[in-house]
Amino acid sequence: EKERRVKANDREYNAKFSYADNRIKTSKYNIFTFLPINLFEQLQRVANTYFIVLLILQLIPQISSLSWFTTIVPLVLVLAITAIKDATDDFFRHKSDKQVNNRQSQVLISGLQNEKWMHVQVGDIIKLENNQFVAADILLLCSSEPYGLCYIETSELDEVICEPPNNKLDKFTGTLFWRNHKYPLDNEKMLLRGCVLRNTEWCFGMVIFALQTKLMQNCGKTTFKRTSIDKLMNTLVLWIFGFLVCMGVILAIGNTVWESLVGKDFQVFLPFDDSHTNAVFSGFLTFWSYIIILNTVVPISLYVVEVLRLGHSYFINWDRKMYFAAMDTPAEARTTTLNEELGQVEFIFSDKTGTLTQNIMVFSKCSINGQAYDIYDEFQQKVEITEKTACVDFSFNPLRDTKFRFYDGRLVEAVKQEDPSVQEFFRLLALCHTVMPEEKYENLVYQAQSPDEGALVTAARNFGYVFRARTPENITVFEMGQPVTYQLLAILDFNNVRKRMSVIRNSLGQIKLYCKGADTIIFERLDVCGLELMDITSEHLNDFAGEGLRTLALAYKDIEEEYFEVWMKKYIFVSTVIENREDQLAALYEEIEQDLKLLGVTAIEDKLQDGVPETIARLNLADIKIWMLTGDKLTAINIGYSCNMLQDDMSEVFIISENTLLEVQQKLSTKEHIVGLSRVSSATDVKSDIQLYPDSVFEEAIIAEYALVITGDSLAHALDPGLRLVLLDVACLCKTVICCRVTPLQKAQVVELVKTHKKAVTLAIGDGANDVSMIKAHIGVGISGQEGMQAVLSSDYSFAQFRYLQRLLLVHGRWSYFRMCNFLRYFFYKNFSFTLVHFWYGFFCGFSAQTVYDQWFITLFNIVYTSLPVLAMGLFDQDVNDRNSLRYPSLYKPGQMNLLFNKRQFFLCTLQGLGTSFLLFFIPYGAFCVLLKEDGSNFSDQQAFAVTIATSLVIVVSVQIGYDMHYWTAINHLFIWGSIAVYFAILFAMQSNGIFGVFTSYFPFVTSRNALSELNVWLVILLTTVVCVVPGLVVSFLRVDLFPTETDKQVRHLQLRKRQEPQEQSLRRVRRTSSRRSAYAFSHQQGYGELITSGRN
């Protein structure tokens, strides 16, 4: 398809090109294709191939040491479980496809008709209404808004800016033919699928791309994230495989030796058959036979791990303590394969807006003409504002915004008493902005491009200065109920250099300039006679900033008409020049914005989400480093303070906002030096600590606390390959890192930098499309329910509130990691104990690959006799309950240090398995050398031996799991006792007379009742059980006493204080008292002023 021709509303014409329709399909199978495709996919997996190879080996009679069913049964089981899981997944994909495909949209076919999305076709004209999703890529034709404006929320599109360059979301070229005219089309005129229409009553558009939308074209395959345990497992499986081959070789050599020393003489009774006439060849065959027998050491049944993870994911989904009732949003584990990684997180990268903060700006305090409006209690102490604090009654004002809260009643009094500076203050707020008013259902609604402006205009509105309407030339304000219209002469727009905006208005020949902006900028431009006021206001400003509020200074100036006319002429002239217009305009603005009179300052609270400071404090206690990566400016520091990331007792907060590589480099090196010094000086004090935790990182020894704040520009240089390690070094030595004004790409780079160089588990949390790149980098958490869904869609976990993060990590993550590690350790132990018995027996049966156990026992051991208890342990075990996990965040640390399952632990548990198998074999061996029944009949037969060892094994591993398990729910009881019961039931059933009569050759064991009615056998089983379990018990008991870990101490501590409820640890934020001047708080964007005034042309 070279070019696309579309005729509006002409389905017949468009049908000629057979463009793809709008039906999406993400599902993989249907009912008929499921079985073959799924089976084919599964058989491609390495593990399943391993089974198949084993199966083929077993079909060779000379090699076959086990019956075919020992492999088939587990294989079928694994395939079936996986198939069921795949089928469920696909079912949900079908469901979501169906839901999207059946969304309604209004299509213009002989009048507006409702049509399902899947039936929307290229060329259709569709009508979109406010807050609707855009169904396809459409060309905007008209909209309800003046000037053809159309606000769209591009949350689902922004993301692609940072994706690989093949995306062409920002490019579109086309030509529109209309009434014999050609109109060029570009990207500005397109609405892309995935956007949501905002603040626009309706609009019409023509579908250009249906299914092949830009968004769909950009849906790259998400990379599959593997956990570190997965990676470790892969290595371990290879090691085990090597171990298996070694055992095979040893036994094969043994067989060769045996055949040439003993076997050849034993031919009287056991002649060599045709195929193995020589001992070496016999050894070769034996090798394969033993590979078959010993295959169970390679834990292919570790697929169970997936079941566990799925279960843990469900527990996350089900957790009511992560359910946000206000939005009816439960937490969701969208990826089911990462859970245990949540227990090992070392770094959290958090977005600010919408994640830490609610993105709600609230006008909270102000200072007008040297009078601060703020509430104090009777001791002149600031009052913590809570839900209960009495707020000012605005009922005098019919146009008020009912959601607005203010607590200092004096301000209302001042307004009512018509204090001129207060009046001027609010007049300024009502006039100096770029907000658009909108009457909606008799309600006044403001459309502000920055929430700060909205907050200010809303404040003015409630205090009786209601901004009602604007045209390009006029602004109508209801001042205490009286409509007043101001002529808007000019908007001196905001930009990043000016850091202020002004308007010039005219009312009845009185020309005034209103200016609001960063305090430093405004103070520079004040009239000399206002110095005293400036000092007082500065104090208030410091107070406000110290509380983490965003401040703005307001000033005005009276302008004489003649002066203004001259200025205006220059302004109109400069507006039309082409060269250097920006600079000339700036100079002109500068000229008029002089000798301002200070009105006061405003303080806006960037509202934190609930529980953020507590959550951050708690995560800090768990040694998790939290980095804030925000697109916002240095004001983010305020939030850093208000949410506990920055603290006043920190030794120093480094701020790096240089613009050149060299400067950044110099600054970083200085900081590194400072931090390095503290490292050396404090290292001696903590030596003992380090010895206790050899794995722990050295930097934890730092006592002095530093914080690093770096801006996006500096970060760009600092991420330079030569400098990035220095950056990382400094950053990791700091307690807190805040990156301001970073692009989405930089966010991802920072995450990637830490992830690769620190080899640490990182978690990124964010809510917006600009966080998608970092969310995809490692574990990603999306804040759901706010606005766009893009962050959630690409996340691994989602929930509605930042504060749930502590529960996700400290409770669910910790449990998952704990359970997974216990599960793996037990699993390896169990398989080694089970399998290696064959190895020992090899030395006594002529290395002939004779199995110790009955074949059915081998078939069922892993999948029936021992699967459920370990599954129950992996799902339900908890050493510490959720409340205590949260109360003692240090319990999280073993996960970060990877203490519970690593190569050493693996080695230990396989060693334990090896030892157990040794005892399991040699104790019955010792007894069976001469074992006679009470009736004298001989008893040292192979089948009785098998039943004895098998029974001991089942009991030993059951006792062991009982000892490993910390939390015996009814289900655990049922599974453990049930497994033992099932073992005996199956044992007797399979060795019963009846089944032997029917399937003689499959059930040749008719032994159990003879063996298990024997006292001696039970004595052997008892002895074996005790000998196998007791050493582990002793070792762990002594270890807890002699070398207790942090967890042991905590757990023991908890045990002791179980009865008395400990008092809640206070994690409340401490209000800062010291002053810290905020930088500049203005989240404006450039260009809106022009947009508003452009209507005049």
């Binding site: 003993v262 076997g263 003489d265 034993f266 056991l270 058959d273 527990f315 089900w318 009511r320 359910y323 009816d328 949003t329 439960p330 959601k403 049966c845 002529g846 002939s848 004779q850 908890q878 007894a927 050398c929 001469v930 074992l931 006679l932 029944k933 009470e934 009736d935 004298g936 009949s937 001989n938 008893f939 040292s940 037969d941 192979q942 089948q943 910390h966 939390y967 015996w968 729910t969 009814a970 007379n993 009569g997 003689t1000 040749p1004 008719v1006 006292l1015 001696n1016 004595l1019 052997v1020 002895l1023 005790v1026 000998v1027 007791v1030 002793v1034 008991f1037 002594l1038 006493d1041 207790p1044 101490k1049 045990q1055």
Partner: protein, 340 residues
């Protein structure tokens, strides 16, 4: 903030103990208060069992005699020559005190790999359970003892059956210079399940007819239906000696029950005196360095003489007690500070 109207909480997770992971649970804690007494108790119980086993086992009598005939002065030396057929030799022994009854009489083989896989699978379970189809066509696992050189099916087929132990013994007490035969009871020496379930003769009478068209195993002097000429019911696959042989030993050195001595004058045991064991020596073991032995023993409530179990219990029991003491010391010295 005025609360928005609560949307319908249809996504609210269920508040059950299961979903909220609050299932009531027993949380055992292996504290010193449990572990140390536990070890002490295990230790005491084990020592108790160990003493009982050890004492019982010590009182049991075992008489084991090698009759392979390796040494020149051995009475069976001449028979150990593989060329000798139907060789008989006599082993004399003396009991200096009463060998308490009931006495059990075993033969024992060493270095004999009944547990070899290819040896063990070399049989046909269907054939042995009396399935006539497998008389004509024995299972391939029986190879090379499946058909003889004339392509006649071997019944019972396979190495296991083929190598059946075929030495026979007669025991005499020498009383005043005359040999008094000690009656040996061969009934019920095999397992009940083997005799009644696993092994069945085909329901053909006379039994001989079932074997028409088959040949006896190559090593066997007589066909299966003539294994016991004295007792017609003790023939075919349910012959007691055959059953005992077919139950494979787990380890290369093993004993198998040959006879019980429970009858007549000997029901209380073998009185002191001289005895003579007449052996018809047929079974070759020397070429694979095996040994043949006869063993007389008596049993108790715990079965035959077995020192391993008693000693093992004593050792483990003592170790448990030692460990409990060690743990007590360690606990007392290094226990956690109870207070923070």
């Amino acid at each position: 903030m005025n609360k928005k109207e609560k949307p319908e909480a249809e996504n609210r997770p269920d508040n059950t103990a299961f979903t909220q992971q609050r299932l009531p649970a027993w949380q055992p804690m292996l504290s010193a208060g449990i572990v140390i007494p536990l070890f002490l108790i295990i230790g005491l119980i084990f020592i108790g069992i160990g003493v009982a086993l050890f004492v019982t086992s010590r009182d049991l009598q075992v008489l084991e005699m090698d009759y392979t005939g390796m040494e020149q002065n051995s009475p069976c030396f001449s028979c150990s020559d593989p060329d000798q057929k139907n060789c008989k030799c006599t082993l004399d022994f003396n009991l200096d005190k009463l060998f308490e009854g009931p006495v059990f009489f075993y033969y024992a083989l060493t270095n004999y790999f009944q547990n070899q896989r290819s040896y063990g699978v070399s049989k046909d379970d269907y054939q042995l359970s009396g399935d006539l189809d497998n008389f004509k066509d024995p299972d391939s696992t029986c190879s090379p003892y499946r058909y003889d050189s004339n392509n006649n099916p071997i019944v019972p087929c396979g190495s296991l059956a083929n190598s059946m132990f075929n030495d026979t013994f007669k025991l005499y007490q020498l009383v005043a210079g005359t040999k008094k035969e000690v009656p040996l009871d061969g009934k019920g020496i095999a397992w009940w399940t083997d005799y009644n379930i696993k092994y069945r003769n085909p329901s053909v009478t006379p039994l001989k007819n079932a074997f028409n068209g088959t040949v006896k195993p190559l090593f066997w002097p007589r066909p299966a239906y003539e294994l016991d000429p004295t007792d017609p019911a003790n023939n075919g696959f349910i012959n007691q000696d055959f059953l005992v042989w077919m139950r494979r030993a787990a380890l290369p050195n093993f004993r198998k029950l040959y006879r019980r001595i429970t009858e007549g004058d000997y029901s209380t045991g073998l009185p002191e005196g001289n005895y003579s064991l007449e052996i018809s020596y047929n079974y070759p073991v020397l070429n694979f360095d095996g040994r043949k032995k006869v063993v007389f023993t008596n049993v108790s409530w715990m079965g035959g003489k077995n020192e391993f179990l008693g000693i093992a219990y004593l050792v483990i029991g003592s170790l448990c007690i030692v460990m409990s003491v060690v743990m007590l010391i360690v606990y007392a010295k290094f226990k956690f500070p109870e207070e923070d």
